[in-house]
Amino acid sequence: MQTFRVEGRLLRILFYAIISGMLFGLFFALMSLGLNLLFGVMRMVNLAHGDFVMVGAFIAYVAYTHGILSPWLGLALVIVILGGLGFVLYFPIGPRLTGSYDPEMLSLILFFGVSQILEALAVMVFGNNPVAVGYHVLTVKPVNLLGQAYQPSWILAAGVSVIVILAVYGYLYHTRLGYATRAIMGDREESESTGINVHRVSAIVFALGLVTAGLAGVLSPLVIGSIYPTMGLGLTITAFAVVIIGSLGNPLGSILGGLIYGISLMLMETYLSTWSTMVPYVLLLLILLLRPTGLLGKGVRRA
């Protein structure tokens, strides 16, 4: 009887780790989706990806401190600001990079610079200290499910992530522009010969990549707590791990990678919490050793 009760508790903890891992993982799937889109369409290695997440977070923070208390309005603001910025920013840099001899290496260096600039600007404006965005949902009582408590903020972040991921999926697989986007991922020159305006589509994808990163930024106070100007680097590394686990260049891979990352992280947090920060690196190493193309990858990809 005693053993049975202990086993029941262990099972409930395992169940908790898996469910909360999925909630966490969906957020990380969204957080890394843009990195994958940019690489898939433009072969751009966006080292500043995490910094765009940070920019999204601080847009929400500024909005919050100016009386816009709802995360929904923060999300809308990010779509407008980062969407516009992405579309405009693409034209001076995108065509040069994609037309260059080695877009992957050049973009890596370029975005390293962008990352440093964004970080420095954020430190200048907001200082070095972490700040909190006190969304109302953070104060709501945890939700009980099978004897375990789940944070409503995590559920909200995961829910919004699912909606955004589904929207991106719908765009890619059910719209003409999405076909064009996937065509460019498949074969850039062939897409151009077909009559697709590759730079227009690329600019849209660039904007979409920044927007998804920014949206994850708005949601980040709900999942990872306080925000700070240098948070980008860690997020970039996590995003790379997630994307490589799933498969670089395949947006669907981000979802699988995010879920695997989230669940592994929560399992580690539950059973071996001191080791949990190593999870992304260990997963990254394992995947690179066992299946370098990622779980959904087919051919060998560079970068």
């Binding site: 076909y179 996937r182 065509a183 498949g186 077909t194 009559g195 305006n197």
Partner: protein
């Protein structure tokens, strides 16, 4: 036999591929509804010429007129909207389904027209209908060519430029492809086909021969057949 209403006029076109110049002063003309073959061996500059016409490779100098309008300053997609279609050796996007490829063929059409045209293509090519949800890359060589042709036809272009349609096809499938192209002849679309395979001459009325980036022969197919030097030099025929 001079074409009366040219759909394509090229004057003194030169182009390079990377750092190497591969085309010198190419001048040619394709009439409305005409079928013209561009013969040449590997490395003669055929693909570069076609890509320059489409805008995939920038011209060094010379002019290109599509339906009497200069298109030199236009992007590829803008040239395609003006009635040009380019069927590359690959001819389709392997990672997309057959249907998605056909949608891209009619990218600039309205939804209703695109829908009707795709349905027409399915009638013409029932194989494509059966495999419409398959990845184009999983089709057989012959079916891929069918898809490439169908994709090009959807926008009803005035000129289709094809790069080595026979590549990767068995001799039997080449015959089949030629038969399909002949069947499609309704006089509204001109074809400019770059080939090494002289069987395609059966399809054409006129031919150009490209050698070392320069045009070596311009004339009717009958004249080409009569031209002994060319026959020996390029095709090893006697």
């Amino acid at each position: 036999m001079r074409p009366t209403q040219p759909v394509l006029q090229v004057k003194n076109l030169s182009a390079r591929y990377g750092v190497m110049q591969v085309l010198w002063d190419v001048t040619l003309e394709i009439g409305s509804g005409e079928r013209v073959v561009l013969l040449g061996s590997n490395g003669a500059g055929k693909t570069t010429l076609l890509k320059t016409l489409c805008g995939l490779v920038p011209a060094m100098h010379g002019t290109i007129l599509l339906q009497q309008q200069p298109v030199d300053a236009l992007r590829v997609d803008q040239r395609i909207r003006r009635g040009l279609a380019f069927v590359s050796e690959l001819g389709m996007i392997p990672t997309l389904t057959v249907e998605e490829n056909l949608v891209l063929g009619g990218y600039y059409l309205s939804n209703a027209i695109r829908h009707t045209r795709i349905a027409e293509m399915y009638q013409k090519f029932p194989d494509l209908w059966r495999q419409r949800r398959w990845a184009a890359g999983s089709l057989s060589g012959g079916q891929r060519k069918m898809l490439a042709v169908a994709k090009a036809l959807i926008a009803r272009p005035t000129l289709i430029i094809m790069d080595e349609p026979s590549s990767g096809l068995s001799p039997l499938l080449v015959q089949e492809l030629i038969a399909i192209l002949r069947q499609l002849d309704d006089g509204s679309t001109a074809f400019f086909i770059a080939e090494q395979n002289i069987k395609f001459l059966d399809l054409a009325t006129r031919a150009y021969v490209l050698e070392g980036g320069r045009l070596r022969f311009t004339g009717t197919v009958a004249e080409l057949h009569a031209d002994n030097t060319l026959r020996t030099a390029y095709f090893g025929l006697r």
